[in-house]
Amino acid sequence: MRAKRAALLALIAAALGLVFSAYSTYDYAVQLDRQVHAVHCSFIPGASVSTDADNPCKAALFSPFSAIFRATYWGGVPISLFGLGAFVFFVGFAVYVWVGDRRLPRSAYPTFLALTLGPLAASVVMFTISVTQLHALCKLCVGTYVASIALVAAAGLGLRANRREATPAESEGVGVGWSTPVVALAALGACAIAPALVYVDLLPDYRPLLEKCGKLAMPVDPHHGLIKIPTAHPVRAVTLFEDPLCPTCRVFHERLVDEGVFERLDVTMAMFPLDSDCNWMLDRSLHPGACVLAKAVICGGTEKGRAVLEWAYDEQDVLRELGKQGAAPLTAKISDRWGRDLATCVASKQVSVQLNQHLHFAANNHVPVSTPQMFLGDQRVCDEDTDLGLKYTLAQLAPEVLRE
């Protein structure tokens, strides 16, 4: 009876894993239309979507770890799809052990336990990535981890109960057959892959969409005031429009760096702070203080501009709060970190003029009032292609930046 209960527990765990994986997959697949969508982020299956821009499930979804084959398929193949298929298998296997109970081959429960280690291992890997790389735990992911753990526990309990409940004659059975583990492993593989195959087979053709987001009309800044950012192996010219206090810019920059792309770009950076203090295109500041930090990046120039920008991204939460208090606290913070010379530069008229030229560069090119923006040569990379579709887009438009 205990084995039966364990099988039931495994069935529930697998079903739960299936539900969490299904939500993760849905949240991922819905992004395939290149629009902005809220994502689910709750331990309660069926809870409404979260509109919080910073929710950890969104961070996980848009991280480079959420999918594979990103350069081949737009958005890649979400790993939740494999989880979805795997949990389908485990639901079936749980039914198998529940119905079969003591009439199963002796290898059934060990096979079950061994196979459940797969989702557990995947969960451990993803949990480690969440903690060490994303610094956040997505509730849907945690639900999947818990389901994986419960599945292993149920399989373990089932194995133990099955051995205890077996008669001496049953226990003394000889020979270890391999057909159950082999067939089960093959079935698990087939189940795990099947949804992914359906997914990639039906994916839209994104290639015609990649070049529909405009071009730089005047790619050369007549004042030559944009910032050149030195990188290790620049192979492709790119112009980036950045705002030091824009969270999306920070994530985008981290993505480029994490994926090894940034070092292969020949970067020209235009500051485009969404702060009405200096940016006339806004009727209110989206990121108060961004003008001051943009000036700091300009003052950093080719030598220190990248370091100043990355510092601003790293300290963004603190700097955003300071920015709401006015320019003085921000300038003081800049002085503390980068020295008085740079702070003096930030306050100078000259750098204000330079920043104004950056903004006029944006105006001359009639770029959208948003950040970040990336132009490969003069071709604008669509916003929709700067997150999930970034690697695919680069593979299509600038494959040289993905080659080692």
Binding site: L18, A22, T25, Y26, A29, V30, L32, D33, R34, Q35, L81, L84, G85, V88, V91, G92, F93, V95, Y96, V97, W98, V99, G100, R103, L104, P105, R106, S107, A169, E172, G173, V174, G175, G177, S179, T180, V183, C191, A194, P195, V198, Y199, L202, P204, L209, P222, H223, W280, M281, K349, S352, V353, N356, L359, H360, A362, A363, H366, V369, S370
Partner: protein, 277 residues
Amino acid sequence: MSNDNQRLPGPQKTPSPDEVYRGRVPSARDILDAGRDPSRGAEAGGRLAAVSGAAVGFALLLVVSGSVASMVHGAKERIAHPASVQAAQAVAVADDAEAPYCTPAFKQVLQRVLNACGLVGTEQRRGCQPADVKTFASISDDDFNALFTPLKDRGAVLMFDDASDVLDEGAKKLLDERWLDRKGARYFFVVARASRDGTVERNRALSHKRANSVMFHLKESFQDPELDNHVGLLWLGSEFAQLSNAYCEWPHSRENKHCTPQDINRSAFASWVDCRL
């Protein structure tokens, strides 16, 4: 399902499932029979379990694959036919500033000045003579002056000595300040004038020189490669409506000196214009 583990070893050889149930689902009879024969029962039960598990798994896999197909297909449809609300959402585009004073009348004059003065198009000449203004402005002199009223705080009056086209230090400083305070403007207007002292021809020439002085100073000071595309010069002779004493209240380069109507007309008004064209 399998013959791998003979968990219920019987005295006789247990037939393999393939031998007993080749290619079919165990029937009720098989299961009843299995109750009588433990070894056969185990096989039948195992087979039933396998079939049940496989059936559930397969059905679920179909549902899941169908759902995935539906999700991807839905996205494909939304790409092909974006929702009208989303399609209608206009994305703000970076552009020059457009201030409230950019009325149609103001923009009409601005456009004509820019066209006639060579800032727009391929004309080589720079600057407009009073006759041009008379032709293209199509408005009265007073109305023409009034157009610049909204620029009172944005611009400044650079004052000259009598019969002089030389910018003094105060004028240069004020001009530099105004030039650097560009914000979102694309065009920088310089409207030079002369007082009524002297002949019309002489004043017209003087006005022209004053406008050029402003241009030369900007070129020397800032060496802006875009300067020629930004600065519009307009020189008005004494035959144009003179500025009244009220314009002495405008920011000017001789704040500490007494301002007369003659002084305010020996000048060049310089301002960025925050209008799109």
